[in-house]
Symmetry: C2
Subunit: 458 residues, 2 copies
């Protein structure tokens, strides 16, 4: 039995048919040599036999006047969770995207363990895919990534098959609370409340000082982002798009200007989104604002679940060269991080929950077009395994994150590193962004331009 | 532009992730001679080209302080509505059921025209299927059946292909209101209100008179049905089961006792459900109660949309022979119909909305187990075409209704007649009825027993 944390519960409380709160991963594999459909069917049979471990065997139980808890589902139904799908011929990547967009739009059954696993057969060029969907109330990107790594192997021998739901051992206890949930533990309530109060005070002080006294224009003030086509009321259907680039090249782009990989991702997304919007006749004069989730775990922490906050990062100005844009965003990011430095986790989480709550409120009251959106898109970076991975002897070729969108912002770009590549998973509201794949094309173009124009990139 | 009626809007208002309010039809076809996967892919391409007509091109638009209306969706997206799915090999009926259970559990996107069409490839024995899902706010069973008939042909030539969304002509105007919605038309508001008041008074008077003065124990009083495993809180996932029998045999079963086809269906469902429950250790001492929807259209009416009410029918006693059970149910049904005879449509609709509202209220307050359920299951009978039908030259072999479940009652059995057979579509909450297919087996057994024991049946 595990209590949910405040943040876990927020992902349940803010969820609606228009804003499902699950995250997912797509893994694309190559069939082992000499294996075909019969091998996949055998794999499927074997998967159904694997028993789930915590939290994959647990379902929600509401508690009167408290946060819900997770209890073992005594009627666990493997046929419900483990699914087999076949793409129509010829099995193109576009057909896969279209299938995933539908699967990703569907709410999960809250009366069952909050995950689904889909084996997808029939992808062109001897490939198959896994689509793994888990509710955000159960895990954040870092935990998802850890589970994905644990469920694949570094050897091609195919002996160590362990699907994501078959947990390696009893997981770390979730009671070691470092975030907002420390507020719930009476023993240090006073100390935590003091941290929260002081921390929020420090944050506000820093914000005002940096922005107005020191004239730091790279700080994103609340409600300072422009309204764009992405600031639309949320609707239930989704579009997906995927692309990937060599990790080393992306890192090299930032090298000469001291920018991080993350800065380069933000700059490419920013330039691409500006181009995409301008092709639709939209040219926001102000910088766009990205919400960037930040993992709050200390290095080497074993803690699972949700332990994130987020920074609002002001992106580049309308007309900038790749170098200028990257420098501006790198400065914004540093400002944002410095804002949170030395601030207790409890306060930074409260501040970022405030931004999410504001967006939810704005969306709930249909204030799109009246209230400026707290941010224009989410850009998230989740580190994955560095070396080639296998499942049951099949080599993992590509792996894309498929995340969720937030209220008042119809786009999420999450990147995931694996085996020397950085994989971009784009998720958008289908009504607000019916031509999401055009944004993917803009990202590909901008990537080439950055590679040509940045000094360190070649 | 069409206003929704009160009943239409009720199907939207009472909808939740646990209680989706759509209805669906499953059609199973045989591939034309010499045709295979390539032909199906061509069919799919052709279907995508067919433009939608009203209401298949219309989406909801909320109106402040009024019922929503339907307006043309200017960004109609055929790829969203028209979908292609392939079953994994070997493509058994069980795999089809499992796929449909998932598709049927998913809410529809309220920001788009409220329908989905799925072509399902890969069914064993040279078969393929259509699964057509439409929101109940747009149509009831009778309208669905009419649209299904219009979208198939009586000739095998394959020239007249017209999918369900390609409407034959401008449909009948929905303003001719005979039900509860007449209340909205100011011109006859007073007359309608008088009808409603008088009618509800008559209904109550009849109920009291028949039950208590005349001692008619076959009348179902509100809140008189026993609690069973079906009276469970609704959950999001579904189980489906299908069976079918010769129509002539079912009619013959009722013949000697003057029972209708509908009475026979109710009696078979009742006996089968009692057996199913008793195998799980449940033996309700009181009769079960079925909610039976009734089409309010005068014969030959062209009116589309929702125009139904429903009767609560007391089913048989625990231990009865097929003949006794059929006679008892036939008497209940007559009592129920007489209750509504000469009662204005507006009053019978209000009464049955009251029962539905009571169930929704009970479920919303989690009163399962405290409040007796207003009914135990829904049993619905929708007449379909009598002669063999074709689509694009493929012969329709079977066609099953896939309806929705109601609050406080986890089971819906809808039957649909076609080409000399009666097709049973069972839909249940998967948590309340994890072994729904066992109920299908009970129905098959009971059918055989009825056939052996009823005088007219052979």
């Amino acid at each position: 039995m595990n209590r949910l944390t405040l943040l876990d519960a927020m992902f349940l409380g803010l969820e609606s048919p228009e804003l499902p709160a699950h995250v997912a991963g797509l893994q694309i594999y190559e069939l082992p040599k000499g294996k075909g459909s019969a091998w996949l069917h055998g794999l499927m049979e074997e998967l159904r036999q694997r028993p789930p471990g915590s939290p994959f065997n647990e379902k929600l139980r509401p508690r009167l006047g408290g946060l819900p808890e997770l209890v073992v589902d005594e009627d666990f139904d493997p046929d419900f969770h483990i699914r087999h799908t076949v793409l129509p011929r010829p099995g193109t990547d576009e057909q896969l995207r279209s299938l995933l967009a539908r699967l990703h739009a569907n709410l999960m059954d809250r009366d069952r363990p909050l995950w689904e696993f889909h084996l997808i057969e029939g992808l062109q060029n001897r490939r198959f895919a896994f689509y793994i969907k888990i509710h955000h109330a159960i895990c954040d990107g870092a935990t998802f990534s850890k589970w994905m790594s644990q469920s694949t192997t570094v050897s091609a021998s195919g002996k160590d098959m362990r699907p994501i739901w078959q947990r390696p051992r009893v997981r770390a206890n979730r009671t070691a609370r470092t975030g907002l949930d420390a507020l719930q533990a009476p023993v240090n309530l006073l100390a935590t409340a003091r941290d929260l109060g002081l921390g929020l005070g420090q944050l506000t002080g820093k914000l005002v000082r940096r922005r107005f006294l020191q004239g730091d224009r790279r700080i994103a003030l609340p409600l300072s982002s422009p309204s764009t086509a992405l600031t639309a009321p949320p609707t239930a259907s989704r579009n997906l798009a995927f692309t990937h680039f060599p990790l080393a090249e992306l890192k090299a782009m930032g090298k000469s200007s001291g920018a991080t990989l993350n800065d380069v991702v933000l700059a490419i997304c920013d330039a691409a989104l500006r181009r995409f919007l301008s092709e639709q006749g939209q040219t926001p004069a102000q910088p766009l604002v990205a919400l960037v989730p930040v993992n709050l775990r200390p290095p080497d922490s074993e803690e699972e679940g949700n332990l994130v906050t987020s920074i609002q990062v002001k992106l580049g100005d309308p007309e900038q060269t790749p170098g200028e844009r990257l420098a501006a965003i790198s400065a914004s990011m540093r400002s944002g991080k410095e804002m949170y430095a030395d601030i207790p986790a409890v306060a930074s989480q409260a501040y970022s929950l405030g931004a999410a709550g504001l967006a939810a409120l704005g969306s709930g009251l249909h204030l799109e077009g009246i209230l400026p959106p707290p941010f224009n898109l989410i850009i998230s970076n989740v580190p994955g395994p560095r070396e080639t991975r296998y499942f049951g002897g099949a080599r993992m070729l590509e792996t894309y994150p498929v995340s969720g969108i937030a209220p008042m912002s119809a786009l999420n770009v999450t990147v995931y590193s694996y085996d020397g590549e950085l994989f971009f998973g784009l998720v958008a509201g289908r009504r607000a962004m019916p031509h999401l794949n055009d944004l993917k094309l803009c990202i590909d173009e901008v990537y080439e331009e950055f590679r040509e124009e940045l000094p360190g990139a070649d």
